[in-house]
Amino acid sequence: MAENLTQIYLYTRYERFWHWFQAAMIVVLLITGFEVHGLFRLVGFDLAVRVHNFVGIAWLIAFAFFVFWVFTTGEWRQYVPTTQKMFAVVRYYAYGIFRGEAHPVPKRKDAKHNPLQRLVYLMLAATLLPVQMFSGFLYWGYNSWADWGLDWLSLEVLALVHMAGAFSILVFLVTHVYMTTTGHSIFAHTRAMITGWEGIEEGEVQDWERPVKPTCET
């Protein structure tokens, strides 16, 4: 199989940096967050709170750069959801992968995400992570609620939302880490996210994968 692969430069330096930086922050936030929640004792409550607050605010700021990058580079198009080939992808992971079939939607420079990934990452980047960051920010600003006119908020409800978000992210993390092993080799996708170079099988570019021509390109 490997001899048919073509190496393409799929992930730019900033993307790779952002991926791993965000991954590290999320892992730290999960660990310290669960410690603050009282699930285990690792670094101590007060250090966990301080780290969680610091990393959380750092994430919020760094995420703003990511949003900027996504829109200025046009990479947002990678997140536009589609139903085409969705069934094929689902079928592949549920059935074809066990029979050694080829992935129905090989990666392309301008289509890094298969239809399933598009949907999941859109939900993640546009909904789950912002909800988590926003609820975390409100949690962090608890003492200012009265000043912000938010004293009707319930910390219990907010904590519940934040916990639900944390569990959702953990579920994603488990699945995501597993899915990285479904490449041509166990570590192929991981290597690609480190070096930027992904080995892909030759194949035809789908129509829907072609970039939409911008109307006024500068």
Partner: protein
Amino acid sequence: MMPIRWMRIFCVVFVLCAGAVLAQAADEAAAESAPGRTMARQATQDVQGWTTVDHSRLDALKKPFASGKQVTEACVSCHSEAASQFHQTIHWTWLGTEPDAEKRMGKAGDSLNNFCISANNMQDKSCNACHPSWNGQGTEGEVNCLVCHGRQQINWTEAFDDLNAFSGSDDPEEQQIVADIQADIQQAVQSVILPARENCGSCHFYGGGGDGVKHGDLDSSIAQPPKSLDVHMGVDGKNFQCTRCHTTVRHNVAGRIYSRPAAADRKSLIEDDLTAKITCESCHSATPHKAGSKANDHTDRVACQSCHIPLFARQNPTKTWWDWSKAGTLQDGKKYNEKGEFGKEVYMTIKGEMKWEKDVKPEYFWFNGSMNTLTIKDFIDPEKIVAVSAPVGSREDKNARIFPFKIHGGKQPYDTVQKVLLAPMLSGKDGYWETLDWQNAIEKGMQALNASYSGSFDFVETTYAFPITHMVAPRDNVVRCAECHTGQGGRLASLTGFYMPGRDRTGWIDTLGWLAVLGALAGVALHGLGRAFSRKGGKES
């Protein structure tokens, strides 16, 4: 190509690590200069005591004294308003300032406690040992200024009794005794000071009839405390006297709490340079910790004392239980005492059963600065534990903060018909300590208070709360976050009605969350196993 790249990565990592280390070091440096600490230090620069009066050189104090009254007259001959000022204060009247025609708050009034229960309208004479009058005469007598202002404490009653017994004698030996006593009296009268810890402590350390009986954060260990026992009063530290915080206006000493708080406002000296220094915030401000510290976010709802006094009675034990119902047992027909592990009485025929504790963890309650204290006129529910004194406040009360308390439990007599607490007379020839006769002691005690008694009594379990505010521990010994922010028996486990991170959780979201995570793990495990087996099979075929 590769080495340069690795060098670059190394440099980035190095800079990040160095930054983190520097940030940590800066944090530690900032902790040294927490703004509230700096402020307090500035507000309390060491005062070089100075005065324009040397009392030992005043003629008014060089003459012979034959009675306490003459001493007071000598003081008032210069300090003309001192006695009349003092007569208006709670230290003299033992009455709260709250105008309430029905109930007179205070020891001299209708208030009760669960120690010696009542002063019986000042007629239980043993209580007067702590009244700042000569010979325990109470408000009938003259002010003994030297209780608070004398460096040398002598037994005045004995000294004047002996002096008067021997004076006028022709015996040269007895004349010498008179001269010696007079010299002692004059020396004591001439050594006038601002009140020191020992002066205040001569009563406040021994409240309830013994060292450390009442307060828990005030006992004889505070007279010369090490800094580890109290950062403010520590003799190896700032060596504060009581009056450093208990500031005084016209002999009214700040800090007494009945139904009114010790301080009406939370003000620092920056906001009002003449404010009483009775609160921590007076000198330390409302945000004393370094900027950005989570501790500063707590000061609106958690009193400083809650974290900074992790344990009280750290050197001497304090009494935590006093069961009057066990009193009256004789041994070989005689009254007896029995001592326990701290060398303190755990049983006394005249007082009943007692418990003592050391290094006590406070109990925490919402507290707006006022205490609710029962009087002989308040009805009780004897089916429940009766709170003779309890802090006022709730989470909904904006002025209330979580505050540490010593809770003293016990059993004391109540009227089974009228459902009020009773005030037995304890000392004197008709007192319980002499007669061991409850019925008679209660009748006498209630008569002294002009209160009715049905004639039928029993004992009820009660509690009495003392705010804990002294024995502030060094910074390194403060209560750690996780001692409250924990789901397993934390210090604030009993305070409900609000969500506290680390302590509280919404059970179903945790259950649901973990089910989802386990589901994901099981799913990927099965999927992975499926791949492993099918691929192997695939290759073989």
